[in-house]
């Protein structure tokens, strides 16, 4: 079985999937695409439902037997299932519930906030022809708004608050342990993926959070993560953003 991974800069969801791939000692053909230019929408599998309608927005796509797989946490679970070495989810059912619940709440709250703030600070730039290819109407609307520089002040403020809450949650969780779930897991990968780029965008959220800072250093110094970050083609991959999951429409 051969795998191809179309990925962006090692930040956000691309970070999670690259990290899971390397942590699990798996091989895939790595093809870099510019997510911030909408290049995911010109992939051969772009119109498959699970790629076109991924709730994650612009993220990496793992192709296995012509099937495009999107949504970084679940792709990471897949790589965890097929790969080698230590598991990226706890061994017991409750620990796995905690991991999935952590990721779900992060995906729903911090990830849309990070993508919104990240795109405001580092605007994506897709041309009209690329925008026309986007299969999901609501994702295309997010692209159009962001390309036009339309960012609602109340959404920016709410997003900054969500980042602060996410960091507070990590700071509380890391008390007396190295990793969020005890053992190193996908929750560490996904949390780092969305928050690393926020250190410069929402510095106040990280001020006076020594345990979070130390946790980020531990993530960064893992051998697999060093390899992931070495794939960057920009001086600061954490400054690369594209429209992500949408901010909750209601309740």
């Amino acid at each position: 079985m051969s795998m191809t991974l179309y990925h962006g800069e090692p930040n956000g969801p691309s970070f999670t999937v690259l990290a899971a791939l390397f942590e699990k000692s798996l091989k895939a053909e790595l093809i870099r695409i510019d997510l911030a230019a909408g290049q995911r929408h010109s992939l051969p599998c772009a119109q498959q439902a699970e790629v076109a309608m991924s709730v994650e927005g612009e993220g990496p796509v793992l192709v296995v037997d012509d099937e495009g797989m999107a949504d970084s946490v679940f792709v990471a679970c897949y790589l965890d299932d097929i790969g080698h070495g230590p598991a990226l989810r706890p061994a017991d059912a409750y620990g796995r519930w905690e991991t999935m619940t952590w990721c779900r709440q992060l995906i729903e709250r911090a990830a849309p906030a990070a993508a919104y703030l990240g795109c405001k600070a580092h605007p994506p730039r897709a041309d009209a022809a690329m925008l026309a290819r986007i299969g999901s109407v609501d994702l295309r609307n997010r692209w159009e708004e962001m390309s036009a520089g339309v960012f609602a002040p109340e959404k920016l403020a709410d997003s900054a608050a969500k980042i602060t809450q996410a960091v507070e949650k990590i700071e509380a969780r890391i008390d007396g342990r190295d990793w969020l779930m005890g053992p190193f897991t996908i929750a560490d990968l996904e949390s780092y993926a969305w928050l690393a780029g926020m250190v410069r965008v929402v510095p106040a959220a990280f001020a006076g959070k020594p345990r979070t800072a130390a946790w980020m250093e531990r993530v960064k110094s893992r051998p697999a993560i060093v390899r992931v970050l070495a794939l960057a083609s920009l001086p600061d991959p954490a400054a690369s953003w594209a429209p992500g999951p949408e901010i909750n429409r209601w309740g």
Partner: protein, 261 residues
């Protein structure tokens, strides 16, 4: 005894997911019914179990679990009984993909329509001061917004139109997926089907212009196949409201397309 207490509302949407998963696994549980329309989920007794005030929650011994889809994965792993996740890792990915798509994209749109036509009107006529106090007791700010919109009918035309658009897109996607595989995302009955049934069991009644045996034969085949399972029958028999009894529509052998108005 399994030591499981489930705090739930009707077999519908999020509450119904762990209810049906437990019943499929044959896990006996102690049922703790919360009346969503009576705001039981925001009362101190329940907030002591789940401080976020969201339904459902499950106790297993000393453990407390929330988030309905994650609870279902726990139930599948922690108890014996038929496996509700396939062995194949790619099938597992697809099932999780569909559950997230439903939980975070499609269900909120169904829900906005349901809250605007069912939940809001059901509680709107109560004492305004009591309603105001009930809203203020809601712990999560997002849920406070949702209830305020439902109770006071504040959904904008644009929001409702967007929800209806998403419902139409989602129904087409489900029909396509179920034309390729017997079950949602795999060839085996799984948590994605449990999840999807909770979302779609009354589809031909709630969206007659978009779903019927003529328009969506695969969705109808799928809904009837799930409804035919004894755990589904037992689960829906626990329902108390007219909303849930709409499931009986699936007993009709053929539901034709509603004539255009």
């Amino acid at each position: 005894m399994s030591g499981v207490i489930l705090y739930h509302w009707e077999p519908n949407a999020n509450s119904g997911k762990p209810m049906l998963a437990l019943m499929e696994k044959g896990v006996a549980f102690s049922s703790h019914y919360l009346d969503l329309l009576g705001f039981d989920q925001h009362k101190p007794e329940y907030l002591a179990v789940n401080p976020q005030g969201t339904i459902p929650a499950m106790k297993h011994g000393n453990l407390v679990l929330t988030e309905s889809t994650a609870i279902m994965e726990y139930v599948d792993e922690a108890f014996p009984g038929p496996r509700l996740m396939p062995k194949d890792p790619r099938d597992r990915w697809r099932i999780r993909w569909w559950m997230k798509f439903m939980d975070q994209w499609l269900a909120p749109s169904f829900s906005m329509i349901g809250w605007s036509v069912f939940i809001g009107p059901a509680v709107r006529s109560r004492d305004p001061e009591q309603l105001k106090a009930a809203i203020e007791r809601i712990p999560l700010p997002e849920r406070r917004v949702a209830w305020r919109k439902a109770i006071y009918g504040l959904f904008s035309e644009e929001e409702m139109k967007e929800s209806q658009r998403r419902v139409a897109v989602g129904i087409r996607m489900l029909e396509d997926a179920l034309s390729k595989r017997e079950w949602l995302g795999s060839d085996q009955y799984s948590l994605a089907d449990v999840n999807g049934f909770n979302l779609a069991y009354a589809l031909p009644l709630s969206q007659p212009k978009l779903s019927s045996d003529d328009l969506t034969p695969n969705i109808m085949r799928w809904l009837r196949a799930i409804y035919a399972r004894p755990p589904t029958k037992a689960c829906w028999a626990m329902g108390r409201t007219a909303m849930v009894k709409r499931v009986a529509i699936l007993e009709q052998p053929h539901i034709g397309q509603e004539p255009a108005a």
